[in-house]
């Protein structure tokens, strides 16, 4: 109710960002140390561990066989606006194209170096060599120019994990309100979880800015339904009537309502970065027949995809109490369940459980989330960040590029 007043008082606050060569701005300035096969993971981790407390993050791809999706993800992550430079760790015989990745990063003006363990002389020498480079790179990225950053330059993603019956009636609708406020201010917001939106295809399609996009949105949910069925996953069993859920639409609202009420401006796939503000659906379900198993093996695989789409910040709702954070972009935890919040408050940034105790309205918690986004964007650490969480997961997937109707002008 008071959201419009609140908005005018916080209208386009100016933050400071780290200016990158493509014009995008980061809210963090970290070095990523990226292993390009599991065989280089240990060396990469040893390097990162020696910079504890400094902005040096570990990411990587464990597979030895090539995968176009993993290539693209690594490229987008290493050139994310929150990333100032990258050290690549290669064993030497894996099939990941380390040359192309290093070239793409170098093109953006970021410092980049590749340590090939077999050429460098093994574990110890590679760790020493990598540490030396990171020390220099940290000094170099401290010189990155700062520039004013407006809310309309932010990209904010949302995901839920460790959900319970409270998620859909407190934290998720509150994130929806925060998304509406962000979109109103010109930010780009991204939601996903098409596999949990069965029954709402038509409702969602009707929100698309063009009928053609509406068709694509509907098709993405149908694709998810088929894919999960092939996985033998019971995600679409009807809701638990005992808990008060009556229809399949109602069950699906839990995930869907995080999107808020804004029109849907586009459908993107992992690695597609929205070029303007608005609300976007991220289609995380692979194209074609299932080949590599579940679309996303856990919450962090989804978070990595939201970040590859440019997300500066992730809004993570949880009822049972997830503790994860992420490499590269801060994760803000919104706790749906008041009892979980009391038990795990160190890990939770926002207590949406207040809504269930009738101590705050959905709108009020939505405003609190919006303010928390700006606070974290201005440099304040989120709970998971300050606790040192930097989880990262990247697995095999396959996608076709998005169609021409997915991003209407």
């Amino acid at each position: 109710m008071s959201s419009s007043n609140k908005l005018s008082s916080t209208n386009s606050p100016t933050l400071q960002g780290f200016l990158r060569s493509d014009g995008r701005k980061g809210i963090r300035n970290c070095i990523v140390v990226a292993y390009l096969v599991e065989c280089a993971h240990h060396v990469a981790r040893e390097i990162v561990d020696s910079f504890r407390g400094q902005p040096v993050h570990l990411i990587g791809f464990g597979g030895c066989y090539p995968n176009a999706y993993a290539d693209r993800m690594m490229n987008k992550l290493c050139t994310h606006p929150n990333v100032g430079g990258a050290l690549l760790l290669s064993l030497g015989c894996e099939s990941f194209n380390r040359h192309r990745l290093a070239e793409e990063i170098a093109k953006t003006g970021r410092p980049v170096s590749t340590v090939v363990i077999q050429q460098t002389g093994g574990t110890r020498k590679s760790i020493d060599s990598g540490k030396l480079w990171v020390e220099q790179a940290l000094k170099q990225i401290a010189e990155v120019p700062r520039a004013p950053l407006s809310v309309n330059e932010l990209v904010v993603g949302t995901v839920c994990g460790g959900s319970d019956a409270t998620s859909g009636i407190s934290a998720n609708p509150a994130v929806g309100r925060a998304f509406d406020m962000l979109v109103e201010q010109g930010a780009a917001t991204i939601f996903e979880e098409t596999g949990e939106m069965i029954g709402l295809e038509d409702v969602m399609s009707a929100r698309a800015v063009t009928p053609e996009l509406g068709h694509e949105l509907k098709a993405s949910v149908e694709k998810a339904a088929y894919y999960y069925k092939q996985m033998g996953h019971a995600s679409f069993a009807p809701g638990n009537a005992e808990g008060g859920l009556t229809t399949i639409e109602e069950k699906s609202i839990g995930a869907y309502c995080k999107s808020g009420d804004s029109p849907i401006s586009g459908l993107i796939k992992p690695g597609d970065v929205p070029r303007k503000g608005g609300l976007y659906l991220l289609d995380v379900v692979p194209d074609g027949e299932p080949r590599f198993g579940f679309p996303n093996i856990n919450d962090n695989a989804e978070i990595a995809e939201l970040i590859a789409c440019g997300s500066h910040v992730i809004l993570f709702t949880t009822g049972r109490g997830s503790v994860v954070g992420s490499a590269i972009s801060p994760v803000i935890k919104i706790c749906a369940n008041p009892e979980t919040y009391e038990r795990m408050s160190d890990d939770m940034d926002v207590n949406a459980g207040k809504i269930l105790r009738l101590e705050a309205s959905v709108d009020e918690v939505g405003e609190e989330i919006y303010e928390k986004v700006l606070d974290v964007a201005s440099g304040t650490q989120s709970c998971s960040e300050s606790l040192g969480h930097q989880e990262f997961v990247l697995t095999y997937k396959s996608f076709e590029p998005i169609g021409p109707s997915c991003l209407p002008m």
Partner: protein, 105 residues
Amino acid sequence: MQPEGKSRKLLRIHRDDNVLIVVAPVRPGDRDVIDGCEVVFTQNIGIGHKVAARDIRAGEKVYKCGVPIGSAKEPIPAGAHMHLHNLKSDYIATYTLDKDHVFVK
């Protein structure tokens, strides 16, 4: 949200909703004020369940979180429990349940 007669048991999630969510157990004889009208509950209703925020006509769309979740099978008075007996899905399912409750195309 509800400056007058703020409910201690019922949560309104979205301004467009015509259902309210029960956030504390409701027992027969409990009273509550819903949008200015006093309602006396006649049955036990558990947390997470829904009640009508106002009188709802038969066939009227039912909104939760601002999203249509189905339509009323019969006239539903304000404060009445809303569940399988008076609310039905409007989703024409591509995927339906077989006798073993398994999704089939």
